[in-house]
């Protein structure tokens, strides 16, 4: 088992004829992901490196029965691509594109049906190790197992997964939810899914400064809606107030969004917070040994 994604997921690549789209389509296929083809308006009917290309997602869905889509479309057109996927019946959308106008996403998340799961935008995607990779992560750092991971960061995730894998701790599903202010899936969504997944025995939550997603996750744990063992890490402890760290989500404004507040929120609900990615595997082992929180 896993969350969101498994070996049977049939995947489309929106923007497959672009440089990143094609490069990653090949990498995903090499990983074992069932890539059914791609979509690029105006290039329908072509074939690119054996991938059939369609003009519209609805046409692609009709021909391939895909239910998952990954988006590599330039920022001005990416929200449109998200809406197109949702409209065409795609149920899991991973939007990789960085730099989408926040107001485009405000409109998009409001219009997407409730049964469509959007990951991102500005995210690395998700992977169910050994089964399917929908994203831009380096597949070789992942290994199949029973620890779920959800992260606001991209590359920091690889760093942490790498540590887990080297320590012999495999993963059920790893989700990079993205760093933008408006994203489709947040920590609490993933925790809810991990709670339901029998093959996830513990979860690593990789947070960062800005917003209150980490506090919301801690509240959910306090309410006993998530009861599995968990370990957290918060990036940006050394970031000064008022400076935006790369993406709009990561900014400490006054007293809100500080690393300290997030660390405290997790510690209050007995979720240990790692000082460094290097210590995460050890913490995971220790929480998995402990009796479950009640």
């Amino acid at each position: 088992m896993s969350i969101y994604l498994d070996r049977n997921s049939i995947v489309l690549v929106q923007g497959i004829t672009g440089r990143e789209g094609l490069y990653n389509a090949n990498r995903m296929r090499a990983y074992g992901t069932r890539i059914a083809g791609g979509v690029t308006p105006g290039k329908g009917g072509q074939t690119i490196e054996d991938f059939p290309v369609f003009d519209t997602v609805s046409e692609a869905v009709a021909r391939t029965s895909a239910t998952v889509s990954i988006i590599f479309v330039p920022p001005p057109f990416a929200a449109d691509a998200v809406m197109e996927a949702a409209d065409a019946g795609i149920k899991l959308i991973a939007c990789i594109t960085e730099g989408i106008p926040v107001h485009d996403m405000l409109r998009a998340v409001a219009a997407i049906p409730a049964d469509v799961r959007l990951i991102g935008p500005n995210c690395p995607g998700l992977v169910t190790p050994g089964q399917s990779l929908v994203g831009i992560m380096p597949g070789h750092v992942f290994s199949a197992g029973n620890v779920g991971l959800v992260s606001r960061s991209g590359t920091l995730t690889y760093e942490i997964v790498d540590q887990l894998t080297r320590a012999g701790i495999g993963q059920s599903t790893c989700v990079g939810i993205g760093g933008d202010p408006i994203i489709g899936t947040v920590f609490t969504d993933c925790l809810r899914a991990f709670q339901e997944d029998p093959d996830t025995h513990a979860v690593v939550i990789v947070g960062e400064i800005g917003g209150t997603d980490e506090e919301d996750a801690a509240s959910m744990i306090a309410r006993r809606e998530f009861t599995k063992p968990a370990v957290a890490f918060i990036g940006g402890r050394s970031a000064p107030e008022g400076k935006r760290m790369g993406h709009a989500g990561a900014i400490v404004s006054g007293s809100s969004g500080t690393a300290q507040a997030k660390v405290q929120a997790f510690e209050r609900v007995k979720v240990p917070v790692a000082d460094s990615p290097a210590t995460i595997p050890e913490l995971v082992r220790s929480v998995m040994r402990e009796p479950a929180r009640k």
Partner: protein, 382 residues
């Protein structure tokens, strides 16, 4: 992109939100000219982005063309918390009866625009939230439904806005909401939203933060960008589309940091601090960076004289190790930075190819982030 007060008020005025009569000046002469044309009791305000300009002396009063010289001279060029006031806004004074607070911002949690209002205006809203949370009304607007006047009435009621100005309040909020979408704002804040002695609402201040990504839809607003008083290296980085922040704290900054992905760069900054150093910057070359981006990043980060060691931390996903390595070699070849003050950590996609490129140039990459941070701090302190 944050706007200066006068820019924000220009947007407000166009959107039909009442603002005091005012004009901006960049010199004492301009200020005198403005007061000559509009001789009236006025307030002279430093146009800076940092808060607390009032306490720093950045707000003064005058009543005629002669009178404005002193304040203008005093404020123009004033250093307010490290920011130089290059412009002043000269506004007709408003007789204020009471100060309210009103803002719209993007709420991450609800994924909606959130309206925040309070009858306790004039002070920092976080201060109000801390002192008297019940004095603040919040409302997340259903993006799909958009703004309806009932939202304004509900917020006004819950925020205890005086009934006599509720009609004006509802109308101003409607215009503010339309402006929010029109310009792609992250924040529109009116604090204080003043009630004048004759019962009119007027935006006494304007704080506007636009979504940088949204400027592709509003290229006209991009022109205001040059007015922003960021650090020179940040301006240079922005011109080349590099995610770079110049970090200033206790003065012990010594390690330049470059990485791919905001999270990893922040993690690297944290690791540098844990190793006893301090990052001079946040520099994210982003996903899928090509060689020229890497080269540009090295050039900008090392242009900072505080940088005693440079730590490049790459975990390849969409970014390929060989591209990074090539960019790095090019930067070293074309620049003045020496490879003995450089620590590279390279792993992930095309890691092997990248390491090969580096080794051919005599650079040995370290294995882990913590190891790299420790080595960089050691170099910086040597």
């Amino acid at each position: 992109m944050r706007l200066l007060e006068y820019q924000g008020k220009e947007l407000f005025a166009k959107a039909g939100i009442p603002v005091p009569q005012g004009r901006v000046a960049a010199s004492v002469e301009e200020a005198v000219q403005i007061m000559r044309e509009h001789p009236a009791p006025s307030v002279v305000k430093a146009q800076v982005l940092v808060g607390g300009r009032g306490k720093a002396g950045g707000i003064k009063f005058c009543s005629d063309a002669e009178d404005v010289k002193g304040p203008a001279q005093a404020i123009l060029g004033m250093n307010i918390k490290g920011e130089i006031a290059k412009r002043i806004l000269i506004e007709q004074r408003v007789d204020i009866e009471k100060e309210l607070y009103l803002s719209i911002t993007v709420d991450r949690a609800s994924k909606k625009p959130i309206v925040i209002a309070s009858a306790m205006g004039g002070m920092d809203i976080e201060e109000v939230a801390a002192k008297e949370p019940s004095a603040i009304a919040k409302y997340c607007v259903n993006t799909a439904g958009g703004y309806w006047p009932f939202i304004g009435r509900r917020v006004a009621k819950e925020a205890d806005i005086p009934a006599a100005v509720t009609g004006q309040f509802v109308s101003i909020l409607g215009k503010l909401y339309a402006l929010f979408f029109d310009v792609g704002a992250m924040l529109l804040e009116i604090n204080p939203l003043a009630i004048t002695k004759d019962g009119k609402l007027i935006a006494s201040d304007a704080k506007v933060d636009l979504d940088d990504n949204g400027l592709i839809r509003r290229a006209d607003l991009e022109a205001w960008r040059t007015d922003l008083p960021d650090h020179e290296l940040e301006q240079r980085a922005r011109r080349t589309n590099l995610n770079y922040a110049y970090l200033e704290g206790k003065g012990n900054e010594n390690v330049g940091v470059i990485g791919n992905g905001a999270g990893l760069v922040m993690g690297t900054m944290d690791a540098v601090r844990a190793a006893g150093g301090e990052a001079t910057d946040f520099c994210d070359i982003g996903g899928g960076a090509k060689a020229d981006v890497v080269r540009n990043a090295v050039d900008i980060v090392t242009a900072d004289p505080r940088v005693k060691a440079l730590f490049i931390n790459i975990f390849g996903g969409i970014t390929r190790g060989d591209e990074v390595a090539r960019g790095l070699i090019a930067a070293l070849d074309g620049g003045t930075w020496k490879k003995d003050r450089l620590v590279v950590r390279l792993t992930g996609t095309n890691e092997r190819e990248g390491r090969a490129v580096l080794e051919a140039a005599g650079i040995v990459a370290v294995e882990t982030m913590n190891e790299g941070a420790a080595k960089a701090v050691a170099i910086a302190k040597s």
